[in-house]
């Protein structure tokens, strides 16, 4: 709302704590809603884990607009809340592993100047699937998950591309 505020480099701009709190709340609510919508979409394919990753949209926008710590906080809240509301403990564990790895990779790639939001999103989606699969391999002590990783890498890349383009369009347009 405050248009007169001096606008220098967007990334350097610090957001006042009160606004940040409000943003985190709104973003978390949005992420939770998208998680729920995603859970309503049936699994089309025979391979588990193939999904759109709608909630990642919020994480990416938060990562680019608010910073890595708020994005991590939003992810954590979203996973805990959606796990408690619609899932179970195992689901929380898988989501946490995926989200942590995904956010770390996205953060790292965001700092490489050569990648834009789409690349960050693709890498994040693939990392998310890899993290979940790593937990599954660990819990089940099953090494033969090579096939899943290939399928999940492809599906992650495609959904990451879509979500990345969408996130990029959002990041361009919203002003925080």
């Amino acid at each position: 709302m405050e248009n007169k505020e001096p606008r220098k480099n967007e990334k350097e701009k610090t957001i006042p704590a009160s606004r940040m709190t409000a943003y985190i709340g709104v973003f978390t609510a949005l992420a939770l809603l998208l998680s729920y919508i995603e859970s309503l979409i049936p699994v089309f394919l025979a391979v588990p884990g193939v999904k759109l990753g709608l909630a990642n949209l919020v994480t990416i926008v938060a990562l680019f607009k608010l910073g890595v710590l708020p994005a991590a906080g939003i992810s954590l809240c979203r996973i805990l809340l959606s796990g408690i509301l619609f899932g179970n403990l195992t689901m929380i564990l898988y989501s946490l592993a995926g989200a942590t790895l995904s956010l770390l990779v996205m953060w790292a790639l965001k700092h490489c100047r050569i990648f834009f939001v789409t690349g960050v999103s693709i890498a994040g989606a693939v990392a998310h699937n890899a993290g979940q699969l790593a937990v599954a391999a660990f819990l089940l002590e099953n090494g033969s998950m090579f096939y899943y990783m290939c399928v999940l890498a492809i599906s992650g890349a495609v959904s990451g591309l879509l979500i990345g383009l969408l996130a990029g369009s959002i990041i361009r347009r919203i002003r925080i």
Binding site: C112, I114, M145
Partner: protein, 122 residues
């Protein structure tokens, strides 16, 4: 208004590196999948495990139904005409039930909530 438009134009959506990343991931995974598909061989046995513990090994050649009961719940594993599938389960997500029947060495059907692994072996 003008300021906003400038802001919109400042961020490009896709960089060359993004496209290269996408291509590399798709190519690697695609190549690995093709390799996997061309090198798979028909399995002879089905190993049913709960966690790390093998509970049953069944021949893939003989049709039968096997009920797996764990502390978490039960799954009905069905072997039919050389393929194995999970017909029904009382797990919350039913991913194992939706999984396509498998018959090649190394293929698995996994029920994460029940820590059940149905694996085709030689």
């Amino acid at each position: 208004m003008c300021e906003q438009r400038e802001n919109v134009n400042r961020t490009r959506l896709v960089s060359r590196a993004d496209l290269i990343l996408l291509a590399v991931v798709l190519l690697l995974a695609g190549a690995a999948l093709v390799f996997y598909e061309t090198h798979k061989e028909q399995g002879k046995l089905v190993r049913i495990r709960v966690g790390s513990e093998t509970v049953e090994v069944l021949p893939l050649g003989k049709d039968r139904t096997y009920e797996v009961k764990t502390g978490e719940g039960s799954n009905t594993v069905v072997i039919k005409s050389g393929t194995v599938s999970v017909e029904s389960a009382d797990c919350p997500d039913k991913i194992c039930v939706r999984h396509k029947p498998v018959d090649s060495v190394g293929e698995t059907i996994i029920c994460l909530p029940h820590k059940l692994v149905v694996e085709v072996v030689e």
